[in-house]
């Protein structure tokens, strides 16, 4: 139920993000979800891609600082209160969230949220217990 996220350190330099996407295009990497966070000094690009292994390798070869992290992708009902229902469960079960970002689940025409939590195993078991759908890595790499 865990999926692999690729994080890339982006220096505060003009055109740097486009250099990442150029590398990804060349390697035929499809981005499924992404978030870009920034500080005054640097940016952090986090992505869910169809082929994390190649993505990691190709970015390393191009001298980017990259890291692979495990995150979970949660199906969210596309209606008001959909996200809140999940966050409420997490809060009640003391699951600490580092960050979240959104993803489109094309096949089901539903929304999905990527969660980076402190303890993946605990989060997965809590969500499953409450009947919340999790997206597995197969359906992302497909």
């Amino acid at each position: 139920m865990r999926i692999k996220q690729i994080s890339v350190f982006i220096g505060n330099k003009k055109g740097r993000l486009a250099e990442v996407t150029a590398v990804l295009e060349q390697a035929n990497i499809d981005i499924r979800a992404l978030s870009l966070a920034e500080t005054a000094d640097f940016g952090m690009l986090r992505m869910i891609v169809n082929d994390p292994r190649t993505c990691l390798q190709i970015l390393r070869e191009n001298a980017f600082a990259v890291q692979e992290t495990e995150v979970i992708a949660v199906e969210v009902e596309d209606k008001p209160g959909g996200l809140h229902a999940i966050l409420k469960i997490m809060d009640e079960n003391n699951i600490n969230i580092e960050y979240i970002y959104a993803m489109i689940e094309k096949r089901k025409n539903a929304a999905a949220i990527i969660f980076r939590v402190e303890d993946n195993r605990k989060a997965i078991s809590v969500l499953e217990k409450h009947g919340i759908g999790l997206i597995d890595s197969d359906s992302i790499t497909r």
Binding site: G11, K13, T39, D41, F42, A63, F64, A65, Q67, R116
Partner: protein, 432 residues
Amino acid sequence: MIWNKECESMNAGALKKVQIKRLKDRVQKIYDNVPFYKKRMDSLGVKPGDIQELQDIAKLPFTTKDDMRDVYPYGLLAVDPKEIVEVHTSSGTTGKPVVDAYTKNDIDLWGEVMARTLSMGGTTSHDVLQNAYGYGLFTGGLGVHYGARKIGVNILPISGGNTKRQLMIMSDFHTTVLTCTPSYSLYLAEAAREEGVDISKLSLKTGYFGAEPWSENMRKEIEESLRVKAYDIYGMTEIIGPGVAAECQNQDGLHIFEDHFYPEIIDPSTGKQLPDGEKGELVITTLTKEGTPVLRYRTRDITYLEPGTCSCGRTLRRIHRLLGRTDDMLIIRGVNVFPSQIEQVLFEIEGVEPHYQLIIERHGQLDDLEVQVEMNDQLFSDEIKKLEQIEKTIAHKLHATLAIHARVKLVEQKSIPRSEGKAKRIIDKRQI
């Protein structure tokens, strides 16, 4: 093992007596025989008779590397040229070389201080020493040679280069002691791996490395890859060659042979003497050398004199391993800052050789230091708060070490330009 117990373990009072007697004698000879120094001393209004105590040395003029080049080749000669039995020079890559001209006594002295150096790491007449320093005008090869011969070590004078042959000789003649530059020792270790030479089957146990600065980190690497105990040795052509100072088995500072080479630490910007324990530029006066004696040579090396006695039994003061060069020194908000100090802080945090750049700007009247540190796999985290924490930790440690506030900025790996493998570390944008 102490080569010359009488001189190396002398009590402080006796040592001072020897030093002042030799200094007075040398200053008189220099004044009488070297027009360059006579002119310098006259312009400062100092006569040899003004030197009565050791602290009077501060009255004497400094000598710089440029001074020595200006008087090339024989302008510092203090004896009749027929007394000279050997000449060595610096490489002269940046201009005219510096000349060291030795009398017979000077060569004896060189052998003596190098015998002391090699004895510091326990080398005796039972050893087989492979001398991979270059033989020639360069002081490294023959300096080690004379010291080793005095001890009676079996010398393999192989000189530098020809790595395969080095490995063959090392293995066939059961070399126990290796002398070369630290970088060449690592090159040898790498070549041994490539050639399939099993280091553990060799007889190597000790290495004396010098002629270029090397870090504590590099020492670990050499000691592990060559299975030797690696000693730092210090010297320069301007003084005698190798044999000015060397590490004892404690590997905690280099004993300076101060009965022959009198050390001072000065503030490089004011020229004022600093007390033991305070960091500054090392200045050396030769107390016994006859051919080309030198007054207060400014080494541009940054170190400090380690106070306290050494458990090895030597009373000669120690200089700390070199902390940097005055050429690299920055004055930021009135504080002397050496890139090596910043490097040390980064090394402690990252655990790897850091790539960094220092950018200094002046905003109004205030200097602003930005330390850019390259991101690498060890530092990287997908959590921004952890990266910001790293910036804060580095800034905090820099403040604790240097007493200045620096802005720390993480930058992409390989974004700091590297020229010939050495990064351009300092960008000083101040217009003063």
